[in-house]
């Protein structure tokens, strides 16, 4: 199999980040078309394409845009979420560094669709190279009249400001991101009201992912019908997957949705590192349920197939785990991540993530008991399903519980009481 490159067709060209190059490969054509359309027409095209948000939740993009109230006097805001940081996820960074103009183009189209005259590019603070690349592209776009007042004489104004985050994973959650942009701690907000009604500075706001904005220009340029025919019926288009872990060629790959998971691993990524047997795959970032090697055989990379396997495509991060990997260690490290990144507002998350991490640490050190394992599962039940403002504690559960249930023997083998029992048995046999 091969990649199907739509967003990333020119990503490897050394000049891909330059405006002149981007224009030479039909860059900004989609925006030029959109500037001649009414907002409703743009939203209709995006709706018809079937594009679903690429940040993790998979919400239909056109529908999200249509929630913005039309006739209210308040300003409207458009935000690009470039606060990528879920373990396993590193696809947006490549788009930001190498194809910043594609994102700007998508944002101008989105802004026109919802009637926003100001937008923000919220990028994670560690991405220094991306910050430079995007700022340069924004400056170039202003100079060329693609941003600012009266864009290309269309009468539409759109200003874009780059805003760097400061190392908080939670700011990838859209309401926490909005708080952060307002100069506050990154605490998620209670919903409703949803950002479409009351978001940034209490005004109607749309937040979309980098990959979502990067896709929009192609839909405008080539049409909704063209796009909806790619991929599967409910998951149209291509998607960027960032593959890490035990494969020969980790990296970012753009493939048609619906592609079998094993084809991605074996064909594009060159197979398993050192030809070790496959043990498991986390198919959509650390927060989604793990798949066993057996389950991987029937899993396709689309929303429906993942749902049938009781997991998700999430942020498009495929973590490939080879035989011999200590899953107690990896699960502990994931739990440590969520405990570190919990914002601390809600008790089930603040206490739960830390408690789960501590219990896993005990088990990892061989000091845990079967009661500790039961306690993790009991805690997990209280950390999910709407007990908190945002889904960070659900994400921690997703990273921990399915691994414990599917690979229980590995966790049990590390328990202290089990070790004691085995010692007794062997002592008994010896006597």
């Amino acid at each position: 199999m091969a990649e199907m490159k739509i967003l990333t067709k020119f990503i490897d060209d050394p000049r891909s980040n330059e405006l002149e190059f981007y224009e030479s490969v039909h860059g900004y054509d989609g925006m030029k078309k959109a500037l001649g359309l009414a907002p409703d027409e743009i939203i209709e095209i995006v709706k018809k394409s079937g594009l679903r948000g690429r940040g993790g939740a998979g919400f239909p993009t056109g529908l999200k845009w249509s929630f913005i109230p039309k006739d209210i006097p308040k300003p409207k805001y458009l935000i690009c979420n470039a606060d990528e940081g879920e373990p396993g996820t590193f696809k947006d960074r490549k788009l930001i560094e190498n194809l910043p103009h594609q994102i700007i183009e998508g944002m101008v189209i989105g802004a026109k669709a919802i009637g926003a005259n100001k937008g923000f590019f919220y990028i994670r603070g560690e991405f220094n190279k991306g910050i430079d690349s995007m700022q340069k592209a924004i400056d170039e776009a202003y100079a060329k009249g693609y941003l600012g007042k009266n864009i290309l004489g269309s009468g539409f104004d759109f200003d874009l400001v780059l805003y760097a985050g400061a190392g908080a994973y939670i700011c990838g959650e859209e309401t926490a991101l909005i708080n952060s942009l307002e100069g506050r701690r990154g605490h998620p907000r209670l919903k409703p009201p949803f950002p479409a009604v009351s978001g940034l500075y209490r005004c109607p706001t749309v937040v979309n992912n980098v990959e979502t904005f990067s896709t929009v220009p192609h839909i405008l340029d080539k049409g909704a019908d063209w796009y909806s025919k790619i991929g599967t019926e409910k998951s149209p288009g291509t998607r960027l997957f960032s593959v890490s872990g035990h494969v020969k060629r980790p990296g970012v790959y753009e493939i048609e949705l619906g592609t079998p998971l094993l084809e991605l691993i074996n064909d594009l990524c060159g197979g398993m590192l050192d030809d070790m047997p496959l043990k498991a795959v986390i198919p959509g970032g650390s927060s989604v349920p793990i798949l066993t090697a057996e389950e991987c055989k029937t899993a396709n990379m689309d929303f429906e197939s993942m749902a049938a396997h009781k997991t998700m495509l999430g942020s498009g991060a495929v973590i490939v785990i080879g035989e011999g990997t200590d899953l107690v260690e990896t699960t502990y490290r994931f739990a440590r991540f969520y405990a570190h990144e919990s914002c601390g507002q809600c008790t089930p998350c603040r206490e739960g993530t830390h408690w789960v991490r501590d219990l896993l640490y005990k088990i990892r050190e061989g000091e845990g008991t079967s009661a500790d394992l039961d306690l993790i599962l009991s805690l997990a039940r209280n950390m999910e399903g709407g007990t908190t403002i945002c889904p960070l504690s659900d994400a921690c559960v997703g990273a921990v519980r399915p691994t414990i249930l599917k690979f229980k023997h590995e966790f049990e083998a590390r328990l202290k009481d089990k070790a004691d029992k085995e010692e007794e048995v062997s002592a008994g046999t010896g006597a």
Binding site: F90, K129, Y169, R185, G186, R333
Partner: protein
């Protein structure tokens, strides 16, 4: 004597104040400017920032923001701030071994600074470079697909 921003930073802050509909949004970029100037953020610097942004932004609000975000150093770090990613994807490609190697090369434990104040070594959560593991961030730059030899060569190049 209270903290004095450089004239360059003052003009940057003035620009930032025009850029946002609410001047509260200047807190995060303002803290960055402060950190860029002196390597970390402290009370005096935050007081100066509060004064620059003006009412109703108080020192307490800025302090609350600074302590929430990990990218703001609340105390001085070495000339080279080495942050090694400790998350699972990096672990699967050997970051734990690289971490031990770095500790022994620099003669410090995680979280410590070398006596000559040249290096600070820290383990951090996901840096979003999982496919290029193991990796470290040194000041503003990422170094990826590291081996012990590559790491040593990078350290030798830091003067």
């Amino acid at each position: 004597m209270s903290y004095q921003f450089s004239s360059e930073s003052v003009s940057r802050l003035n620009k930032l104040l025009e850029m946002f509909p609410d001047k509260r949004s200047v807190i995060l970029p303002g803290l960055y400017l402060l950190q860029k100037e002196q390597g970390f953020v402290d009370r005096e610097g935050m007081e100066a920032l509060a004064e620059k942004i003006g009412s109703p932004i108080s020192l307490a609000q800025i302090y609350g923001v600074a302590t929430f975000y990990t990218l703001y150093n609340k105390k001085p770090v070495g000339k080279y701030h080495i942050q090694i990613c400790g998350t699972s994807s990096c672990y699967m490609r050997g970051n734990d071994k690289l971490e031990k190697h770095l500790c022994s090369r620099l003669g410090v434990e995680l979280g410590e600074t070398t006596p000559d104040k040249k290096f600070t070594l820290e383990e951090v959560e996901c840096l979003g470079a999982c496919g290029y593991a193991p990796m470290v961030q040194i000041n503003d730059a990422y170094y990826e697909n590291l081996t012990f030899e590559k790491m040593d060569e990078i350290l030798r190049g830091l003067t």
